[in-house]
Amino acid sequence: MIKRTYDWIDERLNITPLWRDIADHEVPAHVNPATKMSAFVYCFGGLTFLIIVTQILSGMFLSMYYVPDINNAYYSVQYITNQVLLGNVVRGMHFWGASLTIIMVFLHMLRVFFTGAYKAPRELNWVVGVLLFFIVLAFGFTGYLLPWDQKAYWATSVGAQIAEQVPILGPYIRLLLVGGSTVGALTLTRFFAIHVFFLPAALLVLLGAHFLMIRKAGIAGPM
């Protein structure tokens, strides 16, 4: 039954080459932790992707309850934490996952750096990776405000003040971030929008490019 359904789709859309290409490409021994345990450092990138997937999933569940306005944001987070079934676990995953993503991105970057894997012909993938790193930091910065507690509010205020120090463009960057004269209702809604729409879109596009480029240029050879 499953086979017949698959064949029916395959006859029309010829999907087999698509996934066979992904499945059959060979992975060299020097990045395989089963060949040599120390090759686990080559898993950092994959683990980063894994934790990003859990971030997306936990974030999707949090958004079922979270309300991005200054009257309700705090209480909706409180509700998630204290009332929703497993809400504290999902929030815990998203909270700690944020830190773990940063750690894993950093470790992945160090691995690429110290093995010189960014050298020709993989320069462009390094550039995309650095952009992804900044996207992840932006996720951290915007997500920090969303619980709307004291820590969140004042950290964002200081962040906006720092952004204002940029010569000439500073006040405009601050206005773009904060949306008004002080951190308030407008800041929260735009941080929410950036956190759940703008950044994920950029993240997915860049991740797609990142993975495509690994396939095109291949994994860097053994040291």
Binding site: T54, L110, G116, W126, F134, D149, W154, A163, A220, M223
Partner: protein, 263 residues
């Protein structure tokens, strides 16, 4: 290469002895499912470890944002601490340099790294400049992060660093840790005052954070015993009256706390 032509896939000539990995093939293997399953073993351990951490480390929620409370000592999340700390070393106009020029230069160096470190050499010791710079950057970032955290802890009142368990010292009453955590008598006026004024340090549910846990405080102290303690405070960690000066409000908080008889 289809599987029927691939000698590696043949099962008929399976040897009697266990062949080494290299004999078996050159170590390359298909991404799916062979390699992915092995990587998934690492991934599964990673996820399990992560979930255990999540379950053991509950995420708290401070008190609600109060834009008028400029006394709050702000701190960014830990991964921005190094940047935050670095800015402290650029006084006055130097902040432009610290907040803009240095980050921009570092960002550009990072993005254009493949063209800066352009040699074919990949081994870290064959390109000492790049390796040494990165090691230096890691050491500086770690040091700045540690320094920022130490300074922040000193600012909010050093001894409170270790969370609720270590910060109970100095409390004149021996508070047990009750198993029941529900708040009591939340209709009393002292409850709202507590949530607005005290919960930032003692927790929304008396669980304690910077300040000690206060669950079950009513079991060991009466309202008349609590009032002088609150009024005096524990400077510098807790200001006198927790910042409140109105005597009747302090009395209301003491009255409410004396009702917190969680077992």
């Amino acid at each position: 290469m289809s599987s029927s032509e691939d000698p590696r896939e043949k099962l008929s000539d399976a040897p009697r002895h266990r062949r080494t990995y290299r004999e078996l093939h050159d170590g390359r293997e298909p991404f799916f499912p062979n390699f992915l399953l092995k990587e998934w073993i690492i991934g599964a351990m990673f996820i399990v470890g992560f979930l255990i951490w999540v379950l053991l480390n509950k995420v708290g929620l401070g008190s609600i944002a109060n834009p008028n409370d400029s006394s709050y000592i702000p701190v960014p999340d830990w991964y921005f601490l190094f940047l935050y700390q670095a800015l402290k070393y650029y006084p006055g106009n130097g902040e432009v340099f610290g907040a803009f020029l240095v980050p921009v230069i570092v960002t550009l160096l990072l993005i254009f790294l493949p063209w800066i470190d352009w040699s074919k050499n990949r081994r870290p010791f064959k390109r000492p400049l790049a390796t040494a710079s990165m090691v230096l950057v890691i050491i500086m970032m770690s040091w700045l992060t540690a320094e920022a955290w130490a300074q922040h802890q000193a600012e909010v009142g050093g001894s409170a660093a270790g969370g609720s368990s270590s910060s109970t010292s100095g409390l004149p009453f021996a508070v047990q840790h009750p198993t029941s955590t529900a708040l009591m008598a939340t209709s009393m006026p002292g409850y709202q005052l507590f949530e607005n004024t005290c919960a930032g340090c003692h927790g929304q549910n008396l669980e304690g954070s910077v300040g000690p846990e206060l669950r079950g405080i009513g079991n060991v102290a009466s309202s008349s015993q609590l009032l002088p303690v609150i009024t005096k405070g524990f400077p510098p960690n807790m200001p006198p009256g927790g910042g409140l000066t109105n005597k009747s409000q302090l009395q209301q908080i003491a009255d409410w706390l004396s009702q917190q008889k969680q077992k």
